[in-house]
Amino acid sequence: MLGRAVADRLVADGHEVRTLQRSPSHVAGAQDVAGSVTDPDVVRAAVRDREAVVHLAAQVTITGPFEQFEAVNVGGTRLLLEHAREAGVGRFVHVSSPSVAHHGRSLVGAGAGPADPHHARDSYARTKAAGELLALAAHDPDGLRVIVVRPHLVWGPGDAQLIGRIVERARAGRLPVLGDGAALIDTTYVDNAVDALVAALHADPRAYGEPYVVTNGEPRPVVELLAGICAASGVPMPRRHVPAALARGAGSLLDAAWRTFPMPGEPPLTRFVAEQLSTAHWFDQRRTREALGWTPRVGLDEGLSRLAGWTARQASAAAP
């Protein structure tokens, strides 16, 4: 979702845009390269004669074999960096995630801590952490300048990652609130994330070489966020409260079960997700906003009302 939105924006801003995706993106006005970031030939072709690269490609599923995460999130990043440098690319915006620096405890007004592949919480976060370290190591103030942006929980109309999962579970009556649901969670409305990535692309060169967490800067209790998203999506609000410790334990068990007996789809709850939903995650945005010269345009409430509008349009389109 974020990749398409960024491409759309860059085309609209008058840039000559090329997209690299596993299947053609069909972004109007952009040139498509279809293929994998793990394929050197594809990558070389994609970055040729480009001034800048925005790297959003990642393996983002919650479960799966570690090698698969590693190949895309570490291997793909390495390839992109190498070929970008060879092609004389000047700016490289590496899109990462706050989970690369998360050790499982609450993040309360946190900054952008160093990426930590050893202590990050799951395969995704570990491989993203390693990828981020590669990207920052490749930063060269006189050549390929690299900046790392970590948007936190990006959501918006049509988003399958976060909104899709919440809605699906709520509809099935399987969306519990962990603990009393008070943990403060900050999120990023998709338009704000797009703005931030574009701002990073144009940021003062002195801001490069560093990671920045990007959020709306409007943390809310998780129960309030879930209720808001459910209301805007026309699904029932979560009512079931599950003790947080119990949920984390259940998550661990299910993690183990899925590892031992690979089953189709995702486990209903992983320890990682349980932790994410029962501990605070919000960030001090002052450094990010100053460095990128960016502030979020779409507030949480406005985002939710746009989501509600989209839900209504979907419903009327689906109606006979």
Binding site: V108, D180, A182, E218
Partner: protein
């Protein structure tokens, strides 16, 4: 031979390796820390730091570092005593005199030039003072932390040392095992970080390295024939002659050097500045920022008084009583059903005079502190004015502080005599509040004996009747009283008033509210109860539990007003609320004559004043703004409150005559760094200047220094602004200011707006997260609490957010009851609410 500490020990202590060196003096080698090699400028002087047993110069590492500051640095030399730390192990037994001589030889070798300020801890304090007495030409000051110079042979040694010096225990406890080292490190409050504790252990890893610890303990001169006793006596006597500035920094939770040693030192060094660190322990240098305190003290030896002295002629608080000694009119009426009392001016004056003389005859001297734990009423009034007449310093702590708070408060003030009711005496006896106890009322002989009570007030009065002769009035600028803050932000602080400042307090009340002999009053708010006789006004106290303002009924108030034909009523918001609640119309006739009523002690809503005003229709309703440190600062009437409407904060009105108010603007970090100013609209810390502002905080040198850092002004810790008409608006406590990414916010205005929501009874606005990036949280107490989830239901959250529109509220939380302060039960304890919200919103379980 001496050695240098291992690099990891230096690193753990943040000690620059260049500061650590060994020095050969005669046959002995010493290790010491000396910041001279890294000083950027010519030092102001030298701090000579001497550790005790069983620490080493590591104890002073932060002072060594702090001294090496860029501007006006101090050279700091911290020695390891011989047999201790990393200095040489000679195998000799050092005596006190020898240690002092050795230290002198070392400083001669170092060529210490003046001025030198000695700094000592534990037995190092004694040695540092010995050095100080031997080097009067170099000496510029002394700093002492938890130490002693004198031990009365009749008193037992502190328990901890008694055990350590017991036969058979000494070698095992101090040398063969590391027990003494470990026991000392365990005294740190809070616990030492592991790396720091290891730093202290580093020189004492093996029994042969620890021999000096045993030797040190064996040198404690606990008996008359101990070889170090003469040197101890020399120092103890010599200290009395020290006239250099002195600073005593004291951890109050020290099982070794307890309050009696502080008392002894203060008696020997009466000019010393004192700061008691409430809750800190024996290792106060570890527990608190002693380095910062020492440098601040060196920078500003003289503590400015809170306000410039007044030009007003001084008339003692007790003068009225003496003038009316022959007046048979009513001074006080105490209503208590069948036990009601009426006291004439003549009787009150006589009782006061007798008690003053009785106290003097029983050995209480001007300047001695006398704690009064007697509920407001005739007894308290008489003994209070008796102490003021004599010049004894009254210590007035109210039961609202609770037993723990009271114990802290009374111990901090360290009275020599305590006068109390039976209940207070029991606590005083068992919690050792004062050496001499006096009972306010008659006690059965057995009870008096059990409690160790030496006399009753009646006994003292009898003694006083027999005494005659001159009783001189105390000096106007001598200490007169120690009062206590309510302790809503940290432990209650003692506040010292001189006689002149107390008199000014009386005058500001008389002036502001036009109170004198023609305005009988009813008071249910402690300070005003006691001021009645000073104002020459007849006063009545209603039939109620004086410790619980919420027990005042409308009929009890009416009865008291009728008894003295009162023109003025002073009450707290809690008492007024109770009056309004219990009114049934029958009291209207009695209350019709009241011309003025005051709600004092805490901010009050217009609605409560309105309700009270309907009961006293001919009265003007006023509410003063003040604090323990300045009884009245500003005043506002109900009419004025109606006229100004709402704003950002609570309007407390214009400064009363004789009081100046200014603001020290908050900077972007929420710190009050602005110079005193009266620009309208700027939010800052409220500063007050007046003749009746406190003299100083008691035994809290650092706190006093901070509160009086602008010459002539007292910093109140309240935050607010002035409007265009010069009215003061209070926006909260400085400690409760929120610093968000969008700037500095204050809580009170937002709370008032949240309280406009129908379901909300009261609200607390607090911040969570790191200062500078705080998120705003509104915690509400709803009309009906349903034990539901802590996060407000969507409707309530939306209503609160709408009421506080313009501010991003991260969360609205619901609680059954918001905690309030004990004394007034009306100020919300925001610090507690904030700590709770911080945990809940981090996903933890927490109880409020």
């Amino acid at each position: 031979m001496a050695s240098r500490p291992p690099a990891d020990v230096l690193a753990a202590g943040g000690i620059d390796a260049r500061w650590s060196r060994t020095v050969q003096v005669g046959p002995r080698t010493w290790h010491l820390l000396d910041n001279a090699p890294t000083l950027q400028a010519e030092p102001v002087g030298t701090l000579l730091c001497v550790h005790g047993n069983p620490t080493w110069s590591f104890l002073w590492r932060r002072l060594v570092a702090a001294g090496a500051r860029e501007e006006r640095p101090w050279r700091v030399v911290a020695v390891d005593q011989l047999e201790m730390g990393f200095s040489e192990r000679t195998g000799e037994q050092h005596r006190l005199a020898g240690r002092i001589a050795d230290l002198g030889a070392l400083t001669d070798h170092l060529g210490l030039a003046g001025p030198v300020v000695t700094v000592g801890h534990d037995w190092g304090g004694l040695i540092s003072l010995g050095w100080a007495l031997d080097h009067p030409d170099l000496l510029a000051g002394v700093v002492l932390t938890n130490t002693a110079v004198h031990h009365d042979l009749d008193d037992p040694l502190p328990g901890a040392l008694r055990v350590a010096t017991a036969p058979g225990v000494l070698p095992a406890g101090t040398v063969t095992t590391p027990a003494f080292v470990e026991a000392t490190l365990a005294l740190a409050r809070p616990r030492l970080e592991r790396a720091i504790a290891d730093g202290f252990r580093a020189p004492y890893r093996t029994a042969d390295r620890r021999a000096g610890i045993g030797g040190f303990v064996a040198d404690i001169p606990a008996t008359a024939d101990h070889p170090s006793r003469p040197e101890l006596d020399r120092i103890a006597a010599g200290v009395r002659g020290l006239d250099v500035p002195a600073l005593l920094l004291w951890g109050t939770h020290d099982p070794v050097f307890s309050a009696r040693y502080l008392r002894d030192l203060r008696e020997r060094l009466p000019h010393a500045d004192v700061h008691r660190f409430e809750g800190a322990g024996h290792l106060v240098v570890e527990d608190e920022d002693v380095a910062g305190a020492v440098l601040r003290w060196l920078d500003a030896r003289e503590v400015p008084a809170s306000s410039p002295a007044t030009d007003e002629p001084y008339r003692a608080l007790g003068a009225t009583l003496v003038e009316r000694a022959d007046d048979d009119g009513t001074a006080l009426i105490e209503l208590a059903g069948p036990r009601s009392r009426r006291v004439t001016w003549a009787a009150l004056a006589a009782r006061t005079d007798q008690l003053a003389r009785g106290l003097a005859a029983s050995g209480v001297r001007p300047g001695d502190r006398v704690a009064l734990l007697v509920p407001p009423g005739a007894d308290l009034t008489a003994v209070l004015y008796a102490c003021l007449r004599l010049g004894a310093v009254v210590v007035v702590a109210d039961a609202g502080l609770g037993v723990q708070g009271l114990t802290r408060a009374v111990r901090a003030a360290d009275p020599t005599v305590l006068i109390g009711i039976e209940k207070a005496l029991v606590a005083a006896r068992w919690l050792r509040w004062a050496p001499t106890l006096v009972s306010a009322g008659p006690l059965r002989a057995g009870v008096a004996r059990t409690l160790g009570v030496s006399a009753s007030l009646d006994d003292l009065a009898a003694l006083g009747r027999a005494a005659n002769g001159d009783l001189p009035w105390p000096d106007a600028d001598a200490d007169a009283a120690v009062l206590f803050t309510s302790g809503s932000t940290g432990p209650a602080k003692g506040v010292v008033y001189t006689h002149r400042r107390l008199a000014a307090m009386r005058d500001v009340v008389a002036r502001t509210y036009d109170i004198g002999p023609d305005s009988p009053l009813v008071a249910v708010f402690a300070p005003f109860v006691l001021l009645g006789p000073a104002l020459g006004a007849t006063s009545a106290s209603p039939d109620m539990d004086v410790t619980a303002p919420g027990t005042l009924t409308a009929s009890a108030l009416a009865e008291a007003v009728r008894a003295v034909d009162a023109a003025v009523v002073f009450a707290s918001p809690a008492a007024l609320r109770s009056v309004v609640r219990t009114a049934d119309g029958s009291e209207l006739a009695a209350l019709a004559g009241v011309r003025l009523f005051l709600s004092a002690g805490a901010p009050v809503g217009v609605d409560l004043l309105e309700a009270a005003a309907t009961l006293m229709p001919s009265a003007e309703a006023h509410t003063p703004y003040g604090m323990t440190e300045a009884l009245i600062v500003a005043d506002v009437s109900l009419d004025e409150l109606r006229a100004v409407g709402t704003g950002d904060g609570v309007c407390v009105g214009k400064p009363v005559p004789g009081v100046r108010v200014a603001l020290s603007a908050l900077d972007a970090d929420g710190d009050p760094t602005g110079a005193p100013d009266t620009v309208p609209g700027a939010t800052g810390e409220v500063l007050v200047a007046a003749a009746h502002v406190k003299e100083r905080y008691d035994n809290l040198w650092i706190t006093q220094q901070a509160s009086a850092r602008d010459a002539g002004w007292h910093r109140t810790g309240d935050v607010g602004h002035l409007d265009d008409d010069g009215r003061l608006w209070i926006e909260g406590r400085l400690a409760h200011v929120l610093v968000t990414a969008d700037g500095v916010r204050t809580p009170v205005g937002l709370e008032q707006r949240a309280q406009t929501v129908d379901e909300v009874v009261s609200a607390a606005v607090v911040g969570v997260g790191p200062r500078g990036a705080q998120q705003i949280v509104v915690v509400v107490q709803p009309e009906v609490y349903s034990h539901g989830p802590v996060v407000a239901e969507p409707d309530l959250a939306a209503a609160v957010r709408a009421a506080t529109a313009g501010t991003d509220v991260a969360a609205v939380l619901v609680v059954e009851h918001l905690p309030t302060d004990v004394r007034h039960s009306s100020k919300i304890d925001r610090s507690r609410v904030a700590a709770w919200a911080e945990r809940v919103l981090a996903g933890e379980r927490a109880r409020l």
